[in-house]
Amino acid sequence: MTITADYETVEDRPVRPVDPDTTRVTEHGHARPAWLMMTPFLALYLLFIIGPSIYMMVMSFFDTSLTRPGLGGFAGFGNFAEALGSSDFWSSMWHTVWFTILTTPPLVVLAFVFALLADRASRGRWFFRLAFFLPYILPSAVVALIWLWLYTPQLGLLSKIVTGLGLTEPNWLGDPSLAMWSLAFTTVWWTLGFNFVLYLAGLQDIPRDLYEAAAMDGAAPWQQIRRITIPMLRRTTSLVIVLQIIASLKLFDQPYLMTSGGPNYATRPALEYVYDMGFTDFRTGYAAAVSTLFFILVLAVSAVWVFLTRRQEQGF
């Protein structure tokens, strides 16, 4: 007697009905070790991110002082009203937004262009990858020192170049209307490498045969970029944009180190305003209220972006 079951067709095999309970059990079986592995991270996340954030929101309703223990007297919405009525608050918020507007487009477009060029290089690709990514590994303090010397009036490298060409030297960090552009330029040089690497990875994921097929059909290189590369990188682009907007909104180091928020407060971003109120003026309750308002702004920007990309993805 043969033990091999003999079936006429594949369809005749006894199919075990999918039991929803069984799948849940298996998922559960995986979920437990997963949660266990994540526990250290979650504990730290609760302790250092969620906890302080909740404390910040609570504190924003009190006249908390850095020099006194406890929360201090209840202020209701007083801190929020003061912030919304303060021109210093609004100008610092605008400086953060202005910096984001100045840096996001070049950091996305240039990263894409350079990644495209580096991807095309048949030889020495490692060199371009390294060259564009290297500045990104520098700490902000080092970047600030390098660029402070480059921008220094009278003595700096840029000053020598510009005056050597017979032009009058712009006051890079000392002119209120130019200082933010100078900070933005430094930031583009510094952080371009991160987006560049994301784009390069995205480019390498595009199947080569698409290009070959397009080339056979007579598509010019520019058409290939427009019809294949850009659409295939759509997901990378939306990731790069959202990461970049959040990174730019976090502006603090560059103006704090390079201009101290000056000249005459022209580059003081929202986070430095929070720092000044909390640590220079000891008004931690008010600083918490400003932080909460800034948190709402970042949340709103992120929410709008997620909404837009969701809709876009559903459209395809």
């Binding site: 850095l66 020099t67 009036p153 009278q154 960090l173 002119d175 209120p176 000056g262 000249p263 003026d281």
Partner: protein
């Protein structure tokens, strides 16, 4: 077995290491913080904010103390100066883990005292260690009193001074027979001196930090404005008493020097201003005396003197003092106050070492000694200690404060030609009034 280390051996090693570290932590400040025990009883725990040349000299003084007091271990912590320092000192004291002795600027000490974070230093306790009010520079001592009580021991006065390049000033004919800068009096004489120097250098007469530096413009303004007898804040900072006419006079003068006559660069940062003076592009440099080490290291021919009495009234110059304070609770353990005061006295006795860094000793036994009188260029401007003008009292005032930022931002903008004097005064008034009417968080 000589094979590669197995995972198990490695893990054992790591855990053993962690265990040892956590045991060792019990006697460390972290362990003491968690267990709520006093940090190393019997030692002097000392916080300061000195870097650069001052840091090196402070360490020499600490070593001398250690040698003289082998029974009292000294734990010295150096933190970056500025708001981070005062934040840490405040939080450590509020959290009842203060150091036994800490450095504070005299103008910031007032805020710490208002927040009830300092121990009063009673005359009887000071007398036990050979200190009394009349042994200190009276200007610095009295400026540090709150309600007639002492909360801080001044160790120096560090005024705003005039650095000059002796070679350039000699060529410009500005030196006297002894090779020192001949006295300059009045705005015209000051302008003329800068113009003469500019002819020699071909670039600038004087420099001082403006970009990204709000403190230096404030120090220069305060020096000139005080020579006119002007004040900015009254009633402990609750009232803005800025004298528009006097402020306009000073701001217009500064604007003339930078924007109109280009005798000073209206846009240069702190380091750039130093570099321009050090490489001979300017013959004068306005800054705090602490930069003395920078120019000594540069091996350039320079002298230091009082900032000229530009407006001819009672001489006045912006300054602050480093003081030593005992944070509240820092003297809780028995005998701790005496250990701390003994340490403070040791620092005062070593004022001669401290004076190398350009600071004028507040401790008169040293300040009036022949040794200090022979110390040049320090003794040339030692008179500044008696004419020192400190930042006005107020919870938002003092070195590195919001007050200095507000003043310095507007003054710097005038010097850079971005704001007219009256617009700068309006901006100062708006920003200061907002703070003056805010309830003090201290």
């Amino acid at each position: 077995m000589t094979g590669p280390m197995s995972r198990r051996t490695l893990m054992k090693g790591v855990f053993a290491g962690l265990g040892a570290a956590s045991l060792a932590a019990c006697s460390s400040p972290v362990g003491a913080g968690i267990a709520g025990t006093p940090i190393d009883p019997g030692t002097v725990d000392y916080w300061n904010l000195f870097g650069g040349g001052d840091g090196v000299r402070m360490q020499q003084m600490e070593d001398a103390y250690r040698k003289a007091n082998p029974g009292t271990p000294l734990q010295a912590v150096t933190l970056a100066w500025g708001n981070p320092y005062y934040t840490k000192l405040t939080l450590a004291t509020v959290g009842r883990k203060p150091p036994n002795v800490a450095v504070s600027h005299l103008t910031r000490m007032k805020t710490l005292q208002a927040a009830d974070l300092l121990e009063e230093l009673k005359p009887a306790d000071l007398a036990r260690h050979g200190m009394s009010a009349e042994m200190f520079n009276q200007r610095a001592w009295n400026a540090g009193l709150v309600g007639g009580k002492a909360y801080a021991i001044p160790i120096d006065t560090h005024p705003f001074v005039l650095f000059y390049n002796t070679k350039i000033c000699g060529q410009a004919g500005l030196l006297d027979a002894a090779g020192n800068l001949a006295p300059i009096a009045g705005p015209d004489a000051f302008t003329e001196a800068l113009a003469k120097v500019q002819k020699v250098t071909g670039q600038f007469g004087a420099t001082h930090g403006i970009n990204g530096d709000t403190a230096t413009p404030w120090r220069l303004f305060q020096t000139l404005y005080s020579q006119l007898g002007g004040e900015v804040l009254g009633d402990e900072g609750t009232r803005v008493v800025l004298d528009d006419a006097k402020a306009t006079q000073v701001l217009s003068f500064l604007r003339t020097l930078t924007v109109e006559k280009k005798l000073m660069p209206g846009s240069i940062d702190y380091q750039g201003a130093i570099a321009l003076f050090a490489n001979g592009a300017a013959g004068f440099h306005l800054n705090g005396e602490w930069e003395i080490s920078t120019f000594q290291t540069a091996k350039m021919p320079f002298g230091m003197t009082l900032v000229p009495n530009v407006y001819g009234g009672t001489y006045a110059v912006q300054a602050d003092s480093h003081t030593l304070v005992v944070p509240k609770g820092g003297a809780a353990a028995s005998g701790q106050l005496d250990r701390s005061l003994g340490f403070i006295k040791s620092m005062l006795d070593q004022s001669m070492t401290w004076a190398q860094g350009g600071h004028i000793p507040a401790w008169l036994p040293v300040a009036q000694s022949d040794a200090f009188k022979k110390l040049t260029p320090q003794s040339n401007y030692a008179a500044a200690a008696d004419s020192a003008v400190y930042d006005p009292p107020g919870w938002y005032s003092g070195s590195g404060s919001d007050f200095e930022n507000i003043m310095g931002s507007a003054i710097g903008a005038v010097e850079a030609g971005q704001l007219a004097p009256d617009a700068a005064i309006a901006q100062i008034r708006t920003k200061l009034s907002a703070l003056a009417s805010t309830a003090s968080p201290v």
